[in-house]
Symmetry: C2
Subunit: 240 residues, 2 copies
């Protein structure tokens, strides 16, 4: 079974939702047969790379919240994160463009380190005092290394703005095709979708349901019903 | 849409079948949205690594064919290959253990070079005079490099017998679970299966059918129907 999770590093509910999903997955009896793929989604794709703002300023300017509303929202998110055992700085965080981080996550996917890098990026963005946006590529290289990637490989990808750019955009196109308007968005075997940081029980139910409904394959045959194949008893003789 | 193809490098029908499938895919209007994944299957998993035999000897000893039958089978396979524009040496080829090649194909997958490496391995095994089995790792490194992989990376994987071994075995387990007893075995979106090197028209039909039946997602909701998510208009406020 395959679970695809669309998310953004700048999305607090994605941070909380991943922890809730991971909890459900850890208790799922068939977890060894579940492949998890992280897909890219940018909440703020049109923001310039050098346009870095404090989160509270972004919330008041972009979404028209009052400062009190913005602060209350962050405090509430902090509580939800804490309930999942996650550290969350409710003040002093930055907001910025996450495209490079998504490109790096595609590199990490090729090395089987995607979940590790996503965790490192979330932690850096939501829990640590240093800004994940303000220090340029070397901060991201450091995080890539902490997730088990090679520093030079990460540096090369970051230096080339085209590297994995198509992969990021393909993920985003696919999210739109699947009807996702927000993140996190979970897709199980392209059959079931779960939108938002639902409680772990909802993910458990979705995993169980999708697992139970895995359908046996329908075999499609050629006109003569014969199969030119090789098996343990040798290869079929051509019937031309 | 995702197409998974189980195959073995030592399988002539897999060589022919890939060409037929590739032809159907090249003409498929939605080919840009089709992801192809090659999965491992060994026809002769218990053969020792140093047990290399001429194919004709293997056919007579392992499958009890007469030498005339074995020769006729190879001649016929050569004709089928030629019909797809593929070179095929009907005499003088070797047979051996392909586990290391499958491990290398999993490395190639991580670098987006799996189809290129599989083509290179097929060509080396079926069309070239040099044995792909007899020259040890350096021959495989050479082929990996021809497919766009890094020589040192390939050498490292080949030197460590555990590298990607679990991935090869997981593919083989999954083939058995899906009911594949021979290869090539094609699985479309885990819904349709095509067994054997069917004519390109069968693959066209399978692609068209699976594409047309891609189902919309069923959204599973939490108890309160609410979604803690972030979208273009900001993040939902926690409702704890």
């Amino acid at each position: 079974m395959r679970v695809e999770i669309w998310s953004d590093i700048a999305c607090p509910w994605c941070y909380v939702g991943k922890a809730r999903f991971d909890k459900a997955l850890a208790d799922f009896p068939h977890r060894d047969q579940v492949e998890v793929v992280h897909r890219s989604f940018e909440l703020d794709p049109h923001r310039a790379k050098d346009d870095i703002q404090p989160v509270l300023t972004m919330l008041t300017e972009k979404y028209g919240m009052s400062e009190a509303q913005a602060r209350a929202g962050e405090e509430n998110l902090g509580q939800q994160a804490a309930a999942e055992g996650l550290a969350y700085r409710t003040r002093g965080r930055d907001h910025g463009n996450t495209f490079d981080m998504h490109r790096l996550l595609h590199l990490a996917k090729e090395h089987g380190r995607q979940s590790e890098l996503l965790d490192a990026l979330y932690r850096a963005n939501f829990a640590e005092e240093r800004s994940v946006f303000a220090e340029g590529h070397e901060r991201l290289v450091e995080l890539a290394v902490s997730a088990g990637l090679d520093a030079d490989g990460a540096r090369e990808v970051l230096a080339d703005p085209d590297a994995y750019a198509d992969e990021v955009r393909a993920d985003e196109r696919e999210a739109a095709q699947l009807g996702a308007t927000g993140v996190p968005f979970f897709v199980l075997d392209r059959t079931y979708g779960v939108s938002g940081a639902q409680p772990a029980e909802v993910f458990t139910r979705a995993l169980t349901q999708a697992w139970g409904e895995r359908s046996p394959l329908t075999l499609l045959q050629g006109g003569d019903g014969d199969a030119d194949a090789c098996g343990p008893d040798g290869c079929a003789v051509p019937h031309s």
